[in-house]
């Protein structure tokens, strides 16, 4: 065991002491010093322990909130009581073009608002009425998804039968999604279930009318603060044709024609690798993981992509990289001296704890801890080599553990979610929300990097941190 590993392990052991024995043993599997040899892997994708204060959400959040919600020309019905849909109502910043309520339903909360009678007698009858009412009031809705909340699976409603019947009656696809929150251990299973429902009800139902050799789909970009638009612009500058985005600013037709593309470019691996694997198996479409955070990773990703295409794309790629080089260097020149050596701790969903590392490094910052809310072992395997030996890795970290780790390791910035934000800010620590870009963005693409750099600088170097201690206390 290296010194770095031993030192981190000591800190971890100390933190875990507070737990009852059974809990301590379980949690110990999830917090580990990074062993670059991969020798001591972090356990992941396991049940959260009751009472510890996990940040995780549920399968419904993974399906309605992440995968389906951004598909803009469909109505996504939160089926069950009012709450789940209320909290996920327009809170994920999936930007979408189009007129809300006419041909864009992203900023809406459609719910069946279950009452006691629905729990007792079942909601299938009302569901039919609801679907008809949607069709009447929103004639441009291209389809409807039924996003099941916890009670649906418990009361034995047959939403599949209703969906089948109503698809026939209404002539638009009605997609039942069994993403009840109690399924699985986190949002992650919801991603998978949603992927499968697209596969079963949407994929390949339409053909791409005109094909070109440069047709690609951008998979797993949810257009948070305009991310997908920044990536689309970047790819199109090179000569790719982005036929479909999964699912930021997405459309039903865009999803269905995807099997006609030449390559699937996947950004959020965690939430959409399933559909890529399926398209590879069934349609022989290759897929490639890319990273559009920060110039180093963007360049590497573009070159890797170009390998799959002809010389014109390869040339164009170099040209475009060159074109943006000076603009990126300007960003680095402006911010790097202000951020050099700053230490970061990252705790996000299933992708960003590794994908943003390069962007931080481009600015001279160092990751001293990283964790996933709902990563799997393949996410961790991809992460080990990106971090120094001994860096602490934490899976489904509890509120208590995170707070203690931060106190001991003293990062200069914590990058995580809304539930964590004010905890660490109260500790006097700079913080950025990394799910919502703290209401900023885009962070993807060339454009995104300059915003990312500005935001990190703003957080770390804000003069407001210097106001905390009253002068009479110094």
């Amino acid at each position: 065991m290296s010194v770095a590993i031993a030192k981190t392990q000591e800190i971890i052991d100390d933190i875990l002491k507070v737990y009852p024995e059974k809990t301590r043993k379980k949690r110990a599997l999830h917090i580990k010093p990074n062993d670059t040899s991969g020798g001591c892997p972090v356990k992941s994708n396991m049940k959260s322990i009751p009472g510890v204060m996990t940040a995780r959400g549920c399968a419904y959040a993974g399906s309605k909130g992440v995968v389906w919600g951004p598909v803009k020309d469909m109505v996504h019905l939160s089926h069950g009581p009012v709450g789940c849909g209320h909290y996920s109502w327009a809170t994920r910043r999936n930007l979408a073009s189009g007129k809300p309520g006419v041909d864009n339903f992203v900023p809406f909360h459609f719910t069946s608002d279950f009452q006691e009678r629905d729990i007792v007698y079942g909601g299938d009858k009302r569901l039919e009425t609801i679907l008809r009412e949607i069709k009447t009031l929103f004639p441009l809705a291209k389809g409807i998804t039924i996003q099941s909340e916890c009670p649906i699976g418990l009361i034995g409603d047959d939403i599949e039968a209703v969906a089948k019947k109503m698809t026939k009656e209404m002539g638009i696809p009605i997609v039942p999604v069994r993403c009840e929150g109690f399924r699985g251990v986190s949002q992650s299973l919801g991603h998978h279930i949603a992927n499968d429902s697209i596969r079963d009800h949407v994929l390949g139902k339409k053909k791409l009318e005109e094909k070109t050799p440069y047709d690609v789909a951008l998979i797993g970009d949810y257009n948070i603060g305009g991310d997908a638009w920044a990536v689309k612009e970047l790819l199109e500058e090179i000569g790719y044709r982005v036929v479909s985005i999964w699912s930021g600013d997405g459309t039903l037709d865009g999803l269905s024609v995807t099997p006609d593309v030449k390559l699937n470019i996947i950004h959020c691996y965690r939430s959409m690798n399933y559909i890529c694997r399926h398209m590879e198996e069934k349609y022989g479409i290759p897929w490639m993981e890319v990273n559009f955070f920060g110039p180093s990773k963007i360049k590497a990703s573009l070159r890797k992509l170009a390998e799959r295409f002809d010389d014109s794309i390869k040339e164009k790629t170099e040209e475009v990289i060159k074109r943006h080089e000076s603009e990126m260097q300007k960003v680095i020149d402006k911010y790097r001296s202000r951020l050099e050596g700053k230490k970061i701790m990252l705790y996000v969903g299933g992708l960003r704890p590794r994908h943003t590392i390069g962007a931080f490094e481009d600015l001279g910052m160092e990751i001293i801890g990283a964790g996933y809310e709902f990563g799997h072992s393949d996410d961790y395997t991809r992460t080990y080599p990106m971090l120094k030996e001994g860096v602490v890795l934490f899976d489904d970290v509890t509120h208590y553990e995170f707070e203690e780790l931060v106190k001991k390791l003293k990062p200069d910035l914590v990058a995580s979610g809304i539930k964590e934000k004010y905890v660490f800010q109260k500790m006097g620590l700079p913080f950025r929300q990394m799910h919502s870009w703290d209401y900023s963005g885009p962070y993807h693409g060339w454009k995104g990097f300059s915003i990312f750099a500005r935001d990190m600088d703003m957080a770390i170097n804000s003069p407001t941190w210097g106001l905390i201690n009253p002068p009479w206390k110094e």
Partner: protein
């Protein structure tokens, strides 16, 4: 129909009729679910850990939601029930959850509410808690109030009510003793921390002794001093226990305190009543007079001067509000308060909409509107949503929409400003730090409403009409 045709069509009377014919579909309802209100209430007590029994996604959503509105940490645990709990029940999750949360977060009280899953499978909280105590996984004497808070009944305001009742039931049990001299104040589901502070300030000026039951003003507005505290305030447990010996209890909202007030009337042996929130001059007058009557204290000159200043603000600014047409939506109590305030300013509520709302609410609103010549135009819609409201705004336009942040799309489509009042407010900072109640609240409301109208005039004026004086 093409896209442009539909864009027009959704603004028509014809569309409105179809829209109001809806029987089952609900679109953009301005209400959250019970457990959110329950944990909001629980957080208002000293050292109390809100504990949600059910699947974990709900608790994550509640915490997100509350943190976004207050821009503060919000701690709550869940029992992370999954598929096996659906089959075997959630007892093991609850017991393990109690043991873990106690050892990590050392609460003085654990306040349990339920999310849908636990309610649908019918978990018996009481027996599970007894079992946990039997197994010695938590200290014998730690209070564990619990409330069933099914989300398929009512909304967040009922969750608040159920939790508060449960906490009082638990903490006052066996505490009946000699009378103290205090009056108990229940703020209700009030998203303005400054309102609790304002109530306390007014009571202090009157020299009234009081206990605010569920005082989350310090919990949801803690100072930035370089330390994170998990339990930064709340009603003292001793004071809570002693509330049973107070001289009276008054709820500052009616519909988020119904069960609690009923419980108090039955078991505290003192007067328990609830009023609409003291929003506006007359409602504040009424509140102070009520306190005067209950406690025998006089209303000091200081408050009278304050009142005079608020009335001065009203007379100074009446011209910006008088005759303006308003649409108001939100929780029944707050909507009632705002409508009352508009009427006394000469503003004309036109559309009044709530997602919940009982028959009693409808009747009392009717009386209120009937009491003022400015209430003539108003229509009340209960059990409706913001898509209904959008239709109303398009076919019968108003000058301003008042409600929470979710109203921003309807307001934008109607080309009118949204004045953000209520819960949640996600897209403006610090509003919860300004009171909407009391005489100070009157000044704030007038300032916000009048200045918003004036801003609109400035923004919309051409060069010729762009003036210094407004």
């Amino acid at each position: 129909m093409s896209c442009t045709e539909i864009m027009e069509w959704v603004n028509t009377k014809e569309y409105q009729e179809l829209n109001f014919k809806r029987e089952a579909l609900v679109i953009n309802p301005p209400k959250a679910c019970q457990p959110l209100g329950a944990i909001f209430c629980a957080a208002g007590f000293e050292g109390t850990l809100p504990f949600v029994h059910g699947s974990q996604g709900c608790a994550a959503y509640f915490r997100n939601n509350l943190s976004r509105h207050f821009r503060e940490p919000f701690s709550a645990v869940s029992t992370s029930m999954t598929e096996d709990a659906a089959v075997f029940g959630g007892m093991n999750n609850l017991i393990e959850g109690l043991q873990n949360s106690y050892s990590i977060y050392k609460p003085k009280v654990i306040a349990i509410s339920t999310s849908c899953m636990a309610e649908v499978i019918g978990d018996d909280l009481n027996s599970f808690i007894l079992k946990a105590r039997e197994l010695n996984v938590i200290p014998k004497d730690i209070p564990i109030p619990f409330a069933h808070t099914p989300s398929f009944v009512g909304s967040h305001i009922n969750g608040y009510d159920n939790m508060l009742k449960a906490i009082l039931l638990n903490l006052t049990d066996g505490k009946k003793g000699s009378k103290n001299n205090k009056i108990n104040i229940i703020p209700g589901f009030d998203p303005y921390v400054a309102n609790i502070r304002e109530i306390k300030r007014m009571l202090n000026l009157m020299g009234v002794e009081y206990t605010v039951l569920s005082d989350n003003s310090d919990v949801l507005d803690s100072p930035q001093n370089g330390n994170f505290e998990m339990y930064p305030g709340g009603t003292k447990l001793e004071d809570t226990a002693d509330s049973i010996n107070g001289i009276a209890t008054i709820g500052l909202q009616k519909f988020s305190t119904m069960q609690t007030i009923k419980f108090i009337q039955e078991s505290f042996g003192h007067e328990g009543l609830s009023i609409y929130p003291p929003i506006g001059i007359k409602a504040t007058d009424g509140f102070l007079m009520k306190i005067k009557k209950l406690t025998g204290r006089t209303i000091p000159e200081e408050l009278e001067i304050e009142r005079g200043r608020a009335v001065d603000a009203a007379t100074d600014a009446h011209q910006y509000i008088h005759g303006k047409r308003f649409a108001v939506f939100g929780d029944p109590d707050e909507v009632f308060g705002i409508v009352n305030f508009l009427l006394e300013m000469g503003g004309e509520p036109v559309h009044i909409l709530t997602a919940t709302g009982t028959k009693q609410f409808g009747e009392e609103m009717k009386v209120l509107l009937g009491s003022s010549p400015y209430g003539k135009l108003a229509n009340l819609y209960t059990g409706k949503d913001l898509w209904h409201l959008r239709s109303l705004l398009m076919t019968e336009p108003v000058d301003m929409l008042i409600g929470d942040s979710h109203g921003k799309w309807a307001a934008r489509d109607a080309g009118i400003p949204l004045l953000r009042i209520g819960y949640p407010i996600f897209d403006r900072v610090n509003l919860h730090r300004y009171p909407t109640i009391g005489y100070q609240g009157v000044i704030n409301l007038i300032t916000w409403i009048a200045n918003t109208f004036i801003d609109e005039v400035d923004r919309k004026s051409d060069d010729a009409h762009f003036e210094l004086l407004r």
